[in-house]
Symmetry: C2
Subunit: 221 residues, 2 copies
DNA sequence: ATATTATGACTGACCAGTCAGTCATTTTTG
DNA sequence: CAAAAATGACTGACTGGTCAGTCATAATAT
C-alpha cells in the first residue's frame, strides 16, 4: 500500500490521528483476536487435523471466508496462535532480576512463573498443542524453539552456572540440564490432560516436593 | 468363536495338534502383527486423524478391506496397538526383585527399564501417541491408566514408602510423587521428538544428572 | 464342493479453500 | 449540504479432493 495523500491532508487539518482509520484498525485487531481465541479453543479440544474452520468461524461469530482475510490458511492460523500466545512470556524471564538474588529464590521464581503463567492459563493448552502437533509440523517446533527455548534456556543456564561457580550449588547437574527444573511441571500438564479425571495431580504439591528434593527441606513459601 | 468340532476330531484321530488349523492360526497372527506394525509406523508419523488406512494396508502388503477382518474400525486398531505394545512391559516391573535390594539400585533399575525398554524401542512412539492423542480419546487414556499406570505406580510407591520407613530416604517427596522419578525421561522423549534435529538431548547423561540430584554424587554405573 | 479369507472399486460424508456478490462506511463531487 | 462513487470488509454457496467403511467378487484352503 502506498501512502494516501488524502489521509495525510485530513489528519494535518484536524491535528489528530484520522479517527475513521483508527476505528478500522481497532476493529480489525479485535476480529483477529476473536479468531485466535476461537481457534485455540477448537485446536485444543480436537487437535489440528480434526478442527473444522467452519467451527472456528462459528465460535468467532463470523463467516468462514473471513478467516482467510486474516490468515493465509489453516496452518498459518495455527502458527500465529502459538506465536501470539507464547512470545510475550519470554520477556518476563529475560527481564527478571538476574544474579542479585540467591539461587534458591531464582529457581522458585522460575518454577512459579511456569506454574502461574503457563499451567494457570490457557497457555498450557498451547504447550499441549506443541507437544502433540510439533512432531508433524517442523515449522511449528522451529518457531517455538527459536522464539522461546533458545531465548530462555541460555539465561537460566547461565544463572545456574554462576551459582555453581559461587558455590551456591554443590552439583552442576542442573546447570548442565536446566530441563530438569521444569520437567515435573511439564509432566503435570500432560498427566492432568490424560488422567485428570481419575487421578488429578496437584501441581503445587508436586513442585514443592520437587524443590525439596533439589534443595532439601522447606524454604520460603 | 465357538470350538470347531472338525478340529477336535482331526486332532483325536492323528494324536497331534491339528497342523492345518495351527498353520491357519499362525498365519492369522502374523497378519495381525503386520497390520499393527504398519499402523504404528503410520500413526507415529502422522497422528491418528491424518493416517490413511490405505497407507497402513500398503505398508502391511494387504488390501484395505483385510484390515476390517482383523479390527473393527480405525479406533479399535489404534487401541489394540497401544494395548499390545505396552501391556507386556508391566510384568517386568511387577515381577522385579522388590524389597531385597537397596533403594538406589531399585531406582536405577526403574530408570534403566524406562530408558532401555521404552526410550530405546518403538514403545517411545506409543508413549508419544498417548500423550498426543490421549486427550481426544478418553477411552485410550483409560486403557493406559488401567493397564499400565494403575498397576505399576502402586508397586513403585510402596517400595519408596518402605525406603522412607527404613531410613533409606531422608525425604518422602519421591514416595508421594513417584512421577518425579521418570519425569525427566518423559521430557527427553518429548524434547527429542520436537527439537532432536537442532539440539538433541542425551537421555543417558540427563538421567545420570537426575540421579545425581536425587542421591548425590556418583553411584554404581 | 464348500467354507474361509482376501480384494479393491465404490459410496457417501466431510471439509479446506475460493470467489462472485452484498452492504455499511467513507470520500468525492457539484 | 446531499447525492454519487468508491472502498474493502464480509458472506456463504460451491468445488475439488479425500478417506473410512462396505460389499460383490475372486482366490485359496480344506
Amino acid at each position: 500500500m502506498v501512502a494516501n495523500p488524502r489521509r495525510k491532508r485530513t489528519a494535518a487539518r484536524r491535528g489528530e490521528a484520522a479517527p475513521a482509520q483508527d476505528a478500522r484498525v481497532a476493529r480489525r485487531e479485535k476480529r483477529r483476536v476473536a479468531i485466535l481465541d476461537a481457534a485455540l479453543e477448537q485446536f485444543a479440544a480436537r487437535g489440528f487435523a480434526a478442527t473444522r474452520l467452519d467451527d472456528v468461524a462459528r465460535r468467532a461469530r463470523i463467516a468462514k471466508g473471513t478467516i482467510y482475510l486474516y490468515f493465509r490458511d489453516k496452518e498459518s492460523l495455527f502458527q500465529e496462535l502459538v506465536r501470539t500466545m507464547l512470545s510475550p512470556l519470554v520477556g518476563t524471564i529475560e527481564a527478571a532480576p538476574l544474579s542479585e538474588v540467591p539461587i534458591r529464590a531464582v529457581v522458585e521464581m522460575i518454577v512459579d512463573v511456569f506454574v502461574r503463567e503457563i499451567y494457570g492459563t490457557r497457555r498450557k493448552d498451547v504447550i499441549r498443542l506443541i507437544i502433540s502437533e510439533g512432531p508433524r509440523f517442523p515449522k511449528l517446533a522451529d518457531i517455538y524453539y527459536r522464539e522461546v527455548i533458545a531465548r530462555v534456556l541460555p539465561v537460566i543456564r547461565a544463572r545456574l552456572s554462576l551459582a555453581v561457580k559461587r558455590g551456591e550449588l554443590s552439583s552442576d547437574a542442573l546447570a548442565r540440564f536446566p530441563q530438569l527444573l521444569v520437567a515435573p511441571a511439564l509432566v503435570a500438564i500432560i498427566w492432568n490432560g490424560l488422567f485428570g479425571r481419575m487421578a488429578p495431580l496437584d501441581i503445587g504439591e508436586l513442585m514443592r516436593a520437587h524443590l525439596e528434593l533439589l534443595f532439601g527441606e522447606r524454604g520460603a513459601t
